[in-house]
Assembly symmetry: none
Homo-oligomer: 147 residues x 2
Amino acid sequence: MSSFKGSYAYSVDSKGRVNIPARLRKYVSSEANDTFVITRGFEQCLFVYPLDEWNTLEESIRQLSPTNAQHRFFMRVLLERATESQLDGQFRISIPKELLQFAGIENEVLIIGVLEHIEIWNPQQYEQYLKTQAQSYESVAQTVLQK
Amino acid sequence: MSSFKGSYAYSVDSKGRVNIPARLRKYVSSEANDTFVITRGFEQCLFVYPLDEWNTLEESIRQLSPTNAQHRFFMRVLLERATESQLDGQFRISIPKELLQFAGIENEVLIIGVLEHIEIWNPQQYEQYLKTQAQSYESVAQTVLQK
DNA sequence: CCTAGCGTGGGTAAAAGTGGGTAATCGTTG
DNA sequence: CAACGATTACCCACTTTTACCCACGCTAGG
């Protein structure tokens, strides 16, 4: 099981390539075969799963009911933009233009490791996201950890 | 379970390296594999967890729901600043620039052992913190220990 | 007084991050 | 069906950062 953590300021080149930070690479299982699945996140950002983590996610999606309209909607949105990408010799994945557009990414990105997946944000967008959080980190921590 | 205690005045060199005091090293389990996870504290300081202690914390974070917006926020902020660092031959960890900046640390640090984790402070900042605590140590003790 | 371990500083080789060029692939069009 | 342009994949090259050594002075304990 992955345990991605840390945030990294990286660049996107003109070909839409983004390096996967070495610190995160360390946690990618060899089962992933240097392959990642990129899709849209819940917020305006991208989620990147190593192939093995994606497969377990996919397994749970298969359990959803195709007769339930809400389930169908969820499956479509998640899968619609999902793209496989294999690392090149320089450990980069290349991200399709449509996904970059969706996340509002231009030249620079903030990469965040969140345990089983990796998130890619436009840095300004992430700043914005943090600001719009009503409660402070400290008070959320109290609620979530409940001690 | 660790039981760090005591405070130590140490220095940070130009490469951002900080020695882990020998007194504290004694309490680090071999399971930690000489690896520590550094992250931001609630106040303007850094928390350092031996890897085994961090893993128990991480385990509780994994229980959170990724579909809950508040939980996502908490996971991101907690993990965002988390960095793994392994001791070098001189028993030092190296702290990323962003974390040093967050804690306002320049050349000198105060290292405090607090049971399961280690805290790293700018010494002046810690003085400041003590002053801003409205209640005295004695009166807080009465509330906290409640006997 | 001597020694072993601790705290501190710095040099160097290896790895990481970034950018670009060229060949292969694919879909489209004349 | 061949020709063309656009896109992708695979190299190669450069710069910066990191990790790994080695070295020295100091201190605590024998």
